[in-house]
Symmetry: C2
DNA sequence: GCTTACATCTCGAAT
DNA sequence: ATTCGAGGTGTAAGC
């Protein structure tokens, strides 16, 4: 990894064209050829970048460019598409090389899959007398997160999101429409479950007769079998 | 901006929990308090990070941590949520500070807004005899990208995407449903326009009687008034 | 300030 | 390889 702090302009041409005016920025050149252009603010997204697979070529400026104060040109070309990133360097303020080795990678926990598993294990939070039919119930247009039956033995399709937004309601609506054509299942009610449900999504869901359920991840986790807990 | 190359482990706790095992990584500390943890590969997304607004505190390790080889601890806390990023530093290989100043920001061209403008200016690509009613035609649930009339003076609602996917078809469907209740507009046909239309989106659109139109950004740009062109 | 929709989205899993 | 859904999405525009 090479770290360069430089006064530069940047031009990108590919899926769109973009330009960065002259300023001091951090340029990161990774082992795989990728380049990141960062400013001293914003979030984790670089101002501009080139994703691998790509290759960087360093070249001397033309006389015209040199007259404009450009010291050198970096041309980064994507290997498969013809995306190009051109960095015109006016002044280098820092330049260092570091050998980091391969990273062992990130270990995650707590995303939608876990929420689905927890809700399936504690299907009673949907209401008294509910029973689980199965998780990832397959339909022609994709798997429904959870299929259950209520106390009256009627089918209930549950769509689970971390954040409940409008597209989740649309998804559940498509499933319900399809499942309600199946005489073995119909009538199927819908439950839209999420840790947080946006007002627009709630309105759309209730307008379509879909029940909204806000689930508490920590509370569900607390209902785990005591034998699996630490204390 | 502070750049640190260090042997470290990282733990994040917030909307999910995540852990990075011991390895050498680049740590970027920006002026606004945000922290980025990068490996020497992958794309522009850091392995782990903390977005602003947040604050970093450097502290000494506990005796137990010191025995494990930890030199110091960085605790980064989000100001609004209780998200926490903890970096345990075992060895610092590089540490430098740089004053970059505020970045003037990125100038873009070629995104959806531009595509919409171009299509509105060349509404004839929809078919002979088409005329533009207006861009961003407002409805109760949001603006339709383009409202036009065909050769028979019937209303046509156009939804434009750079990449046409299923949620774009859903969006247009909601607009059409609403607009077709308006006797001044009905009947309204739908056109789903994009530089690229995914097969699933095309299937869904055509199933709902929505016409799919693949638009060529460069060709539209080439149809510009000759006076604005270079040659 | 909050909500909505776009993004050079990125990333991973399933097909 | 392609497609599809999720994201600690980020980000800018609209209200």
């Amino acid at each position: 990894m090479r770290l360069v702090i430089a006064q530069c302009t940047v031009d990108y041409a590919g899926r769109l064209t973009a330009h960065l005016p002259l300023a001091e920025r951090l340029l990161i050149l990774k082992q795989d050829g990728s380049v990141l252009v960062h400013s001293d603010g914003g979030s984790y997204k670089p101002l501009n970048w080139m994703s691998p697979p790509c290759r960087m070529e360093e070249s001397e400026p033309t006389p015209t460019q040199a007259d404009a104060g450009i010291e050198r040109i970096w041309t980064v070309r994507h290997t498969k598409t013809d995306d190009t990133l051109e960095v015109s360097i006016y002044r280098i303020l820092h330049d260092s090389e570091h050998d980091l080795g391969v990273d062992p990678g990130l270990e995650k926990d707590g995303v939608e899959a876990h929420l689905q598993k927890l809700l399936a294990e504690h299907i009673e939070v949907l209401g008294p007398g509910y029973s689980l039919v199965r998780r990832e119930y397959m339909t022609a247009i994709g798997p429904v997160d959870i299929l259950a039956r209520d106390a009256q033995n009627a089918s209930v399709a549950v769509e689970i999101k971390r954040r409940g937004e409008i597209d989740g309601v649309e998804q559940l609506t498509r499933y319900l429409e399809l499942m309600n054509r199946d005489p073995l299942l119909a009538p199927v009610r819908g439950v839209f479950a999420a840790q947080e449900i946006k007002p627009q999504a709630r309105t759309l869901a209730e307008d379509r007769g879909i029940e909204c359920l806000v689930v508490d991840y920590d509370a569900l986790r607390g209902m785990d079998d005591p034998s699996t807990r630490l204390f």
